[in-house]
């Protein structure tokens, strides 16, 4: 753990020139389980970062936490170092569902963990939940949503399950040991999510994200608005501005696996897994990412970002999509309709032809 924090700080040091001109607005500690990091190491990490990076403008500082591992001392240290938002992988409030997902925590532990977060003085809490799970019914999901709401989080991320290749779950699904709910049932769960959460004051601002007013995750919105980010650590992804108009920006991914990552940090190479993104691709990504949000993509943002209008790029396809009820205009913006949100990939494939 200690070595990993050291390496993270070394990496930051090396890549500092890439981002030093930019102020840091959000920090996100996630991927893996930061709550497993000993309090002292967490403090050392954040202090190390803040000594070299300008954190004065940071508005949101999120740390991911696992309900089963979250300790009071850790929360205290996090709070003291500037963490002001906790994102907790609750996943479900049904013991059977949690077991199936291979989670070690219980619904009771999640409630206790939330309690500790509040006691530590952290005002902004998000819970991750999953629906469309094998064996899950609409009623089970409603129950999970209600239990989550009763814990008064400011933010909820509700993800429809996507079985990942190579996971035991995927293996069981392929072998029909487990079966996913029917597509119609899964969408019923999604519909319920939107309806129920709206009625309790959570508005949907992205396909899977819901928040009380003003509590949207600024950091994640940054991904969808193509705001540059620097990722530190194993497999961390970065997106940094291009030097001129082409490429529009450069994405990179750090080596996966601790050993490869260590070797990379200790070597003299600075970048790894570099993928320049052309202007055209960046324009498409504006739609691909922006349309995830209920607010959609605004004409003026598109123009200022790319120097051309949205309608000059894909006006006729947009019009067709509007006619088919998949997209709509709201003021200066284009966004997906409810139906369009269900079929975002199909919409994007059609828009892709324009870029």
């Amino acid at each position: 753990m200690s070595e990993y924090v050291t390496l993270l700080l070394m990496e930051m040091e090396k890549r500092l020139p890439l981002i030093s001109p930019y102020p840091v607005r959000t920090v996100y500690l996630g991927g893996g389980t930061p709550s497993l990091l000993p309090a002292a190491e967490l403090t050392r990490l954040i202090r190390g970062l803040s000594e070299r990076l300008d954190f004065s403008a940071v508005r949101e500082f999120t740390a991911e936490a696992n309900p089963g591992t979250i300790q009071e001392s850790w929360l205290q240290a996090a709070r003291a170092s500037g963490v002001n938002r906790i994102s907790m992988g609750a996943q479900s409030f049904e013991p059977g569902m949690l077991r199936m997902l291979g989670r070690i925590h219980t619904p009771q532990e999640t409630a206790e963990a939330v309690d500790r977060v509040r006691k530590a003085g952290i005002q902004n809490l998000s819970l991750d939940l999953m629906f469309g799970l094998p064996g899950q019914t609409v009623d089970i999901w409603r129950n999970t949503l209600e239990k989550a709401i009763s814990l008064h989080p400011e933010h909820l991320s509700c993800y429809g399950l996507i079985p990942e290749e190579g996971t035991p779950l995927k293996r069981d699904l392929d072998a029909h040991v487990l079966n996913l709910p029917e597509e119609d049932t899964e969408r019923e769960m999604y519909d319920l999510t939107i309806r129920l959460l709206e009625s309790r004051g959570f508005h949907q601002y992205e396909i899977s994200n819901f928040a009380l007013p003003g509590c949207e995750c600024i950091h994640n919105i940054g991904y969808w608005r193509q705001i540059p980010y620097l990722g530190l650590g194993c497999s961390a992804a970065s997106m940094l501005p291009g030097t001129s108009s082409e490429p529009a920006y450069v994405r990179s991914v750090n080596p996966a696996g601790f050993d490869a990552y260590r070797q990379w940090v200790l070597s003299h190479e600075i970048q790894s897994g570099v993928e320049p993104v052309s202007r055209k691709d960046a324009q498409f990504e504006t739609l691909m990412l922006g349309l995830r949000m209920n607010a959609g993509v605004s004409e003026s943002d598109f123009l200022s970002m790319h120097g051309c209008t949205l309608s000059s790029c894909c006006g006729s396809v947009l019009r067709n999509l509007e006619q088919e009820g998949l997209m709509e205009r709201r003021g200066d913006s284009v966004c997906l309709t409810r139906n369009g949100m269900d079929l975002q990939n199909a919409v994007l494939v059609r828009l892709m032809e324009c870029f």
Binding site: I207, S208, Y223, G231, L289, D342, L343, N345, M352
Partner: protein, 601 residues
């Protein structure tokens, strides 16, 4: 200079697929020095890749070999290759008409097969001297003596002198050449008579135009002569005559008995009809040679480029293929569903398969092929007669007084044990039983069958029901009145013309249901619910529904997911490219194949 007529031997080789015809031909060419062994490309006569792969010979050719026999005389042996498939029966008959003898190759391990027999009878009909040759004696399972007596029993020819050879190793090949010299009669013909030369093959040469391959029966042909095609009336100036050995070998003239080529700056291979008689325009023969038949396509289908932009490339490819294949016809057609394409006519299903495979392979085209059909004869209520090769051209039911469909005479040879199941198959396909003959351990059954019923998967069915042992031959017999209807498929309420077909009324329900079910499986869920309906006239007879796609979205997409998400979309876009837009519905190109490959039983 071609030798004296007494020294000429014109012969062909007949054999069942795999019995070693091509290999034997190679050995003969090698033994007579036409090719040095090291120069031999395997199986010279089957020059097209596809033919070799399928073990069939599509186009015939003629090669001249000079052979000094044991009697010390040098003979001119013309080996005429014949196509080996049911679709090309007429071409085979013309090639046989150019010969006086035929080598019958029989596999020493398998004995006589149905196809061998059919060709052998055809050769006997042309009064050819049959020279049996027992091949593959190098194989451990060879039973040459048993096969020898089988030849005598089944065909009724003397096989006591039949050479036993191995075309593979070259063993006893000389015996075959000696047998040809000794037993094949020399041709006859009068050089002083007006010219009569039989065209038995033609091909397109990029530099010389269409080349006719001929057998001179009477008179002679030489460069500078004005020649006339007696059936088509076309006249051309002969530029060059010669023989193949195996390349062009020009000579002054071709006289009676000679086999060779004529180049006459003929621009279109369709001006050279197989079976036509060439005569001297200045001194024409009074009668053409017998047996000419205009070859007409029997099976039709629409061929469309999977990508509309490939239309010009498809056109060019078809034109190139037609240069060498006068029996291929095509004309532009448009389909509401498939856009611009061609209605193509073929001699039969195999011919269709070969052409589509060549288009895809040699011209790198991605095709959508519609359901094959035949020509229907329609009598309208006003008495007008129509010939319909495309279901979409069928007049409304109320205007049709009478419909007729083509029937073929189908002949199936099979070992006895499979006859039951094969007869069942013929009955299922509306076959009318004619008769049955026992030939040794094999049985021949004859049926009259609607052509429409054999163009689906009849070949495959025969093969699978007889474990590959039975073979099948057919020829067009006549047109018969039939209760036919047009079966339409509607996708989301829109008629999808590419799936329309004319079917026997009693079949329509079953087929309509099957097509709907198949399409339901191959059409992916889309933004909206898609009804798939089968209809006759305005009446819906079957319906299936593809439910609307409810979900096509990635739940999570943060910084680390973007590259992967884009790859996923690219993949989805590629998949979409393989789809055809039918009105509002996307249909994968494979859907046509699925409908075609349906099994109603």
């Amino acid at each position: 200079m071609p030798g004296k007529i007494e020294k000429i031997r014109n012969f062909c080789i007949i054999a069942h697929i795999d019995h070693g015809k091509s290999t034997l031909a190679d050995r003969l060419l090698e033994a007579t020095g036409v090719f040095a062994k090291r120069e031999m490309v395997e199986q010279i006569l089957d020059s097209m890749e596809l033919e070799r792969e399928r073990g069939i010979t599509i186009k015939s050719k003629a090669v001249r070999m000079m052979y000094t026999a044991q009697d010390g005389e040098t003979y001119e042996l013309n080996l005429i290759d014949t196509p080996g498939h049911v679709d090309f029966t007429y071409e085979v008959s013309r090639a046989l008409a150019a010969c006086e003898g035929a080598i019958l190759v029989v596999d020493a391990t398998q004995g006589i097969e149905a196809q061998t027999l059919a060709n052998c009878y055809m050769a006997l009909d042309h009064n050819l001297e049959i020279i049996p040759v027992i091949n593959k004696i190098d194989l451990p399972s060879a039973q040459p003596e048993q096969v020898r007596s089988e030849i005598e029993d089944v065909i009724g020819i003397d096989a006591s002198d039949a050479p036993c050879v191995s075309a593979k190793t070259g063993q006893n090949i000389q015996d075959v050449l000696e047998a040809v010299v000794r037993h094949v009669p020399c041709p006859s013909g009068d050089a002083t008579q007006p010219l009569k030369a039989l065209i038995f093959d033609a091909f397109y040469d990029n530099y010389r135009g269409a080349i006719c391959i001929i057998r001179v029966k009477e008179g002679s042909i030489r460069a500078g002569m004005r020649m006339r095609m007696m059936a088509t009336g076309g006249e051309f100036d002969v530029v060059e005559v010669g023989t193949f050995n195996p390349g062009y070998s020009p000579c002054d003239q071709l006289g009676p008995g000679d086999v060779g080529y004529v180049a006459a700056s003929i621009k279109d291979v369709r001006d050279t009809r197989v079976g036509d008689t060439i005569t001297d325009s200045m001194n024409p023969a009074s009668e053409p040679l017998p047996g000419y038949k205009q070859v007409t396509p029997m099976v039709f289908c629409g061929i469309y480029p999977a990508d509309g932009a490939d239309y010009p490339a498809l056109k060019e490819a078809l034109e190139k293929l037609r240069m060498n294949d006068a029996s291929l016809t095509f004309e532009p057609e448009t389909s509401v569903a498939l856009g611009y394409g061609f209605r193509c006519g073929f001699l039969g299903l195999l011919h269709m398969d070969v052409i589509t495979a060549r288009l895809e392979r040699e011209f790198d085209l991605n095709l959508v092929t519609t359901i094959p059909g035949v020509i229907y004869h329609i009598t309208r209520t006003d008495g007008a007669k129509l010939e319909i090769d495309n279901p979409t051209k069928l007049p409304p039911v109320t205007e049709i007084a009478r419909m007729e469909e083509p029937y073929v005479r189908a002949e199936i040879f099979s070992p006895q044990e499979y006859i039951g199941t094969l007869m069942e198959l013929c009955q299922e396909r509306r076959g009318i039983y004619l008769d049955m003959q026992y030939e040794g351990s094999r049985v021949k059954i004859n049926y009259d069958m609607p052509l429409n019923e054999i163009i689906y998967d009849f070949f495959d069915q025969i093969k699978s029901r007889s474990r590959g042992y039975a073979s099948f031959d057919y020829e067009l017999k006549d047109y018969r009145e039939s209760d036919l209807v047009k079966l339409d498929i509607l996708l989301n309420g829109d008629l999808c013309d590419a799936f329309s077909q004319i079917v026997f009324r009693d079949r329509a329900y079953g087929r309509g249901r099957t097509i709907c079910e198949k399409l339901k499986d191959v059409i992916p869920r889309q933004q909206f619910e898609i009804p798939i309906q089968a209809a006759i006239g305005g009446k819906i007879i079957a319906r299936e529904t593809v439910k609307a796609m409810r979900k096509d979205v990635l739940a999570k997409c943060y910084g680390g997911d973007i590259t992967r998400k884009k790859k996923l979309l690219e993949k989805q876009k590629e998949g979409k490219k393989r789809m055809r837009q039918f009105g509002t519905v996307q249909v994968p190109s494979d859907a046509f194949l699925a409908v075609l490959k349906m099994d109603e039983t």
